[in-house]
Assembly symmetry: D2
Homo-oligomer: 137 residues x 4
Amino acid sequence: MSAFEHALTVRFHEVDPAGIVFFGRIFGYAHDAYEAWIRTVGFPLEVPIAERGYALPLAHAEADFHSPIRGGTELRVFLEVLSIGTSSFTVRSRILGKEGMRHATVETTHVCIDPAGGRPRPIPDDFRAAIEPYRTG
Amino acid sequence: MSAFEHALTVRFHEVDPAGIVFFGRIFGYAHDAYEAWIRTVGFPLEVPIAERGYALPLAHAEADFHSPIRGGTELRVFLEVLSIGTSSFTVRSRILGKEGMRHATVETTHVCIDPAGGRPRPIPDDFRAAIEPYRTG
Amino acid sequence: MSAFEHALTVRFHEVDPAGIVFFGRIFGYAHDAYEAWIRTVGFPLEVPIAERGYALPLAHAEADFHSPIRGGTELRVFLEVLSIGTSSFTVRSRILGKEGMRHATVETTHVCIDPAGGRPRPIPDDFRAAIEPYRTG
Amino acid sequence: MSAFEHALTVRFHEVDPAGIVFFGRIFGYAHDAYEAWIRTVGFPLEVPIAERGYALPLAHAEADFHSPIRGGTELRVFLEVLSIGTSSFTVRSRILGKEGMRHATVETTHVCIDPAGGRPRPIPDDFRAAIEPYRTG
């Protein structure tokens, strides 16, 4: 299955005095793609957790930075699901620039929890079915 | 009465490629001082609005930028209350650098509203009494 | 002349615990429109100031906040030039939501300076000609 | 050797509508500690790279999130050097809350490069000597 694609342009004020984008913001770009994707598959983040009955906080995040990102760059983020377990899933976002230049690869692991007690619980079937088509692993 | 003083250091990644702090962030510095002040006078922002019974959203904000702010600069923000009306108040934050260098002056006007309907309502007496000592106008 | 239009979607993590967008970020939305516009008219921000020969820092910014902005909202920003003087110009960005809901109006005044000494200097003719078509005032 | 300690307070607008701090910002907290530490050991980030002769971009960053961080929380970040190689080093920041509550553990790997060509080069001796006392690994 193909990855989810998200486009964005680096803003001038996202670039630091050394001329490159701060790494914390690169995680933000990956999350922008995640947010657009999760909306596309039918589970927008702004639905209140109380209404949803579960939350999907991050347990882990990591990134490899291949080449610096500069201001004005048009980026494309390709998001895919690396794995889906009983109560967690891992997403990978590859951040590319012009002519396919590799800038960064970000992975985030989300755990499905019961919002009341904070304990892991199984990923709901409808959510699992919605993200399954983006699984590549 | 003297102003409330708040100290902060400009972070490297808050500075843009032109070597100066993005203006939106300068409003953030003023808000940092506001948040520290409102905690000091006994009304920390993180008390839920449902529990508090009113909200204090901004109706207006403005800033004059006197001189650019650069990375690593240690800033002092001096916050004072310019005016208190029936249902709104205005705060001024002067942002100074080394040796009193004037960087920016920020003013924000907050309106006390009923969170249910969003209508203005009188500022509660205890909140009014808490901020009154910082009034200079 | 018609205004410049810029579209954006409010990100989940741009919304605070009270459910609304932090005001400093609303200035950021206006600046996103400014950055897209200035690129469109041929003067992208990432051209180094040394190469350009002048800088356009903000001298003043202000905003009226008409109604709160919530997560997931699709915004349209309409940017127009309110005035152009010898060495400064003022831009107004109206930030609208669904069905034309007015959220905020932001005005920023930029001063053309000599980057070496920081003194005001006349706006270059080519820049003036590029922004003139967006003047409404 | 003991770790470098950095204190900070979570700002209200750093908390999302689910009541917790966005993960990208947690990397920012770790970087705040890094920036304070690197200044303390005598190599503040704002020294221009041209003057310094080398740059220290991130090659990798990762974090484990142990418990959510909420608004108003006072955090302490403990930074230590996990390893120092010929041309790279890895820093670990443990982010703790009240009564030692573990919130997150962030690791970042920095590579020393020649700013001209972008190639790895040996870490300069004076920098190595400055960070060595914080090595725990």
